[in-house]
């Protein structure tokens, strides 16, 4: 004899089907709720990120930004052989110094042997692969010996860092000599 059951023989299957449909519906609803507004505006990404990317803080400026205030240096630097050297590589990024057109902090100044280290980053002859046509390289301390100066000298005692040949040229001029390789 068949036992009596409260539920129909298919009731659990119907319930499961309903649960799956409701869960799927909830999923679709939740997806609409959490989907970023501009998702898919231009492609499979949040379109408004383009705006965010454009608003990334500008921290390095250009030498021109520094020259706006540092005018004497501007004239020296722009006229000399170091004109392609960036102010901010040696001194630090503009944004650490000026924020919203206001002075916020002093730029760190390189001193003594730090200056020599900076010079040798580019001008050290022992690092080969530095084409002579684009950069003058020197070996230390041979360069100092060759120039007959004390080997304890720092680079900036002869070379003004912002235009390394400024004083050297002036010295040659004063002596009435012509500088080797000087086309001018």
């Amino acid at each position: 004899m068949e036992k009596k059951y409260k539920s129909a023989y298919y009731s659990h299957v119907v319930k499961i089907a309903l649960i799956l449909i409701i869960a799927g519906g909830l999923g679709v609803w939740a997806r609409g709720l959490f989907l970023p507004d501009t998702m898919g505006q231009y492609g499979h990404y949040r379109g408004s990120d383009l705006e965010d990317q454009r608003n990334v803080e500008l921290r390095n400026h250009t030498n021109e930004s520094c020259y706006e205030c540092h005018r004497p240096i501007r004239l020296i630097h722009k006229a000399g052989v170091h004109k392609t050297v960036s102010c901010e590589v040696c001194h630090g990024p503009y944004a650490d110094h000026i924020k919203d057109d206001k002075y916020v902090a002093k730029m760190p100044v390189k001193r003594d042997m730090e200056i020599k280290a900076l010079c040798l980053r580019c001008h050290n002859k022992i690092i080969r692969a530095r084409p002579e046509e684009s950069i003058k390289v020197v070996a230390m301390p041979q360069h100092l010996e060759e120039k007959k100066v004390d080997v304890g000298h720092n680079c900036n005692q002869c070379h003004m860092v912002h235009d390394p040949l400024l004083w050297v040229k002036a010295a040659y001029e004063m002596m009435g000599m012509e500088m080797k390789g000087d086309k001018k």
Partner: protein, 397 residues
């Protein structure tokens, strides 16, 4: 080091690692993730061998395999969530899955598989849930009522309907299990930038090693749990499992070696980096451990155990021991693929090193916790649903 001939200058190794390549981004957690999903897929296949392919001798473990799979599937996402830089954004994978990304499918494939496995369990255990629910009280009664989907109907008509649905779920479960794990292999196999991963064989190897680890896991768990509870062990069932284990392991090990041999034989410009890796940082974990100890020894033993009828006592001793070795082999394989692939810098000139720490976020301790969790979950499941046919309440089926 031999001097590179002219024309082979690119091959000269100077141990230069790209500055961003020192750090191994995918570490223990990503080793565990395919390991756990592999155990799930393999265990499900054991169950399907009975439910779909009617391998009658596997009846004693057919139900347990499903619960085993569920316990591990629940934890499959844990290592991933622990790995993500922003786990709170994990649902983005389902919100905005990138159609071109091999990883984006995970959310949906995992969910679909979870639903199928859960439904399969609910339908198979429904008569048990109804029977146990009638005896239970309080919260447990509610739980059984939920598991029985609020139905008490276990008439012949209802069970016939259930049986049809079980067959259907098991049948779609097989391709899904294969897909889930083959797909995990493709996450690695589809990365052309990594010569160790980029091979069409990767999904196949992952799938076969998944089957191997799942069967081995079931053998160990079955024998261990039955021994611990002082119940009889069905030797015929173990013998059949061992035969299937050997069969899958033949394929698995063959493809693993074939993959390496193809690289070696074709010797394209990637081979020198792979060669450096296999003879250097991976020598111990790959050649000595994965291949030498944990593949060759189980391979020989499985062959004898399948071809010669061992005495029961001997079989029940060697079966779990060899299965544990196989489980270690698969874990080593995951390690050698996941971590090994990243040791080699994309500079093709050098390899970095990786040593897991105990207490870091993705360290050894979290890994142990994640591997112990499924065992605890399985124990909890065992409190509610009977693992074995001879357990109390199970006879209702």
């Amino acid at each position: 080091m031999s001097v590179a001939a002219h024309g082979e200058t690119i091959a000269a190794v100077s141990n230069y690692i790209f500055p961003n390549d020192f750090h191994v981004h995918w570490s223990l957690m990503i080793v565990l993730y395919p390991y756990i999903t592999g155990l799930v897929a393999g265990a499900f296949i054991v169950s399907s061998l009975y439910h779909v392919f009617h391998i009658k001798s596997l009846k004693p473990v057919a139900r347990f395999s499903l619960l085993f799979a569920l316990a591990f599937l629940i934890c499959a996402t844990w290592p991933l969530l622990n790995h993500l830089g922003h786990p709170e954004r994990a649902m983005s994978m389902m919100l905005t899955p990138n159609p071109t990304s091999a990883m984006a499918g995970f959310g949906y494939i995992y969910s679909a598989y979870f639903i199928v496995l859960l439904l399969e369990i609910i339908f198979i255990f429904r008569p048990v849930s109804v029977a146990l629910g009638q005896k239970a009280t309080g919260g447990l009664k509610t739980l059984y009522s939920v598991l029985a989907i609020g139905s008490d109907n276990v008439s012949a008509k209802a069970l016939k309907l259930d049986h049809k649905i079980i067959g259907f779920l098991a049948a779609i479960g097989i391709p899904m299990a294969c897909f889930l794990h083959g797909y995990v292999g493709f996450i690695f196999g589809g990365i052309k930038a990594n010569p160790l991963w980029a091979t069409p064989l990767m999904p196949l190897i992952f799938l076969l090693s998944a089957c191997v680890s799942g069967i081995a896991g079931i053998i160990v768990a079955y024998i261990l749990l039955r021994k611990l509870s002082g119940k009889d062990i069905d030797v015929d069932c173990v013998q059949t499992l061992i035969k299937f284990l050997w069969g899958f392991f033949i394929l698995d090990f063959t493809f693993e070696m074939l993959e390496l041999f193809s690289h070696f034989y074709m010797a394209n410009h990637h081979w020198h980096t792979l060669e450096a890796l296999y003879s250097g940082p991976l020598y111990n974990t790959f050649w000595v451990a994965q291949v030498g100890i944990f593949s060759v020894i189980p391979f020989v033993f499985l062959m004898f155990m399948s071809l010669i009828r061992f005495k029961d006592g001997l079989l029940l001793f060697f079966a779990p021991v060899i299965s544990v070795m196989i489980l270690i082999q698969v874990l080593l394989m995951r390690w050698n693929v996941v971590v090994g692939g990243q040791l080699m810098s994309k500079s093709e000139r050098g390899a970095t090193t990786f040593h897991p720490m105990w207490l870091e976020k993705e360290g050894i301790l979290p890994a142990i916790i994640i591997m112990v969790a499924p065992v605890v979950i399985l124990w909890l499941i065992g409190k509610v649903l009977p693992f074995w046919m001879d357990d109390k309440g199970a006879e209702a089926a």
